[in-house]
């Protein structure tokens, strides 16, 4: 699998909601090699503070071959990223890690908040595959405003969405996992692809286990290198003899059964 360190050219850095941005980068090599669920390590800042690159999932490869990321401003690095303007250069490494394996016929996508990022890339690829699968998308967000921001591109693809918000301002009031029971039916099970906050993923994994559904989750850990060198991205494995898996190399997408969920 080819990997690159490249200076990407910033084409657009658009505010989507109060704290979520969509950034479009020209980086043809990385875009061509990118598969759903993979990520890039971004260095958008000069100097030593912040010091480390920041990991971001690949949100999509646009129709004209550009790389798009969807990010939420939470600290120093993402604040600096949000301030960047078109034509500036951003040093990226990627595409990195193990992505989603999607050859199943019944696909259920479960996203929470900014966790939608890797799922959109997956959704697009699934819909474009020669034998499109049966797809259900369930999305959770804090509020209506956030939901509209994270789902607008899904709506453009014409897929039907089940939505849940924490404040009840749109769709079901409560966690998105409460919508999973509604799609449970008698015939063969779903394969669930999920990304979001840890407690949500833990709940998704538990439900899938109970229903006997396959489940792939995209996980986040702290990362220094992104290339399997620092061993900082350890995540507890289900199998005790393994000890820890590494998010940047063994993930970020894992089969839910590989993880310990502590």
């Amino acid at each position: 699998m080819p990997q690159f360190q490249k200076k990407a050219i910033l084409l657009q850095n658009k505010k989507v909601t109060e704290d979520i941005y969509k950034i479009t980068l020209e980086s043809p090599e990385v875009a061509r090699a990118a598969r759903p669920g993979q990520f890039v390590m971004v260095k958008a800042f000069n100097g030593f503070d912040p010091l480390l690159r920041r990991p971001f999932s690949i949100y999509q490869v646009t129709d004209n071959g550009n790389l798009q990321l969807l990010y939420k401003v939470i600290g120093k690095g993402t604040k600096l990223l949000a301030g960047m303007k078109p034509e500036q250069h951003i040093d990226i490494i990627g595409p990195l890690g193990r992505g989603f394996a999607f050859d199943r016929s019944k696909i259920c996508i479960v996203g929470g908040g900014i966790g939608v990022a890797p799922l959109f890339h997956l959704m697009k690829r699934v819909l474009r595959s020669p034998h499109p699968s049966k797809v259900t998308v369930l999305m959770g967000a804090r509020s209506r405003e956030e939901m509209l921001g994270i789902t607008q591109d899904f709506e453009k693809l014409g897929v039907e969405l089940g939505v849940a918000t924490d404040d009840g301002s749109m769709g079901h009031k409560g966690p998105v996992t409460e919508l999973m029971g509604e799609i449970r039916d008698q015939d063969a099970g779903w394969t669930v692809f999920s990304c979001g906050p840890y407690p949500m993923l833990k709940a998704v994994a538990k439900i899938c286990d109970e229903y006997g559904w396959e489940c792939q989750v995209s996980m986040e850990t702290m990362m220094a290198c992104g290339v399997a060198a620092c061993l900082g991205c350890a995540i507890p494995a289900a199998a005790e003899e393994i000890g820890y898996l590494h998010t940047c190399k063994d993930g970020p997408v894992f089969d839910a059964r590989e993880l310990a969920w502590i």
């Binding site: 010091l51 040093d91 290339v227 900082g232 350890a234």
Partner: protein, 307 residues
Amino acid sequence: MDIDTVDLRVAIGGLALQNPVMTASGTFGYGEEFSPYVNLHRLGAIIVKGISLQPRKGNPPPRIVETPCGMLNSIGLENVGLDTFISDKLPFLLETRTKVIVNILGDCVEEYAELAQKLSDHKGIGAIEINISCPNVKKGGVAFGTDHKMAAEVTAKVRKATSLPLIVKLSPNVTDIALIAKAVEEAGCDAISLINTLLGMAIDIQSRTPKLRNVVGGLSGPAIKPVALRMVWQVAQCVNVPVIGIGGISSAADAIEFLIAGASAIQIGTANFINPQITEQIITGIKNYLQEHEIDSVRKIIGSLKV
């Protein structure tokens, strides 16, 4: 002066290097991880992640946290163990033109000696670097490197077990670095590398919990450079064996500072994470500096500090 006539070669206790730029243990994996980004053949030496006799799982996460101009890590010496290293990792490294240095660690003096002896049986290994910042389990968990007697003892035992060039890597978490340096020199090492990480911590004030699960961890990166430079200078003054400078080196200028302070070679650590091509860029940068100053050999600037 022609750039191609600039001589970058250095020798570290019998180990001849094509240039003084090495990768620091634990920051470059087993080399292969960086092969998409950097031309491994150009490096002075690759120092691999610390190896123990048995595989180690390492500490529970979070293992890393960023701090101003630096990072803390408590990886806990996770590694694949000697056997897997030799069967799965070493063959790739031996195909590069670059010297391979194996960093070793153990719970007791005997483990270090056994590792050194077993590694000596394998052709192609350039040198052994011993990480003495680990706890001596038999002595209540005090790090070997914080006591000059223990540091000398482990050095002497490893010296007996191998004829490979032997580098001892010092911990900076001591009151008198010169004392430790002299002790390991006397015990027979061929070179001294320093510094390993500085012990530190960080707290999340919202939850009042430590940011590292292990509570404390090792500080690395640009934040530690002045401390590292001072220690390298101090040690270079008081030992005769070559000194290898480590700590926060992120540019050719940083590397040159260490050479001037008395280091015969340098290691790049944390900077590899930020820019995987940094080692090659530093090699080129040192060459350019020498050409600009009309100095034909890097050896002429080693220890050239004018006080």
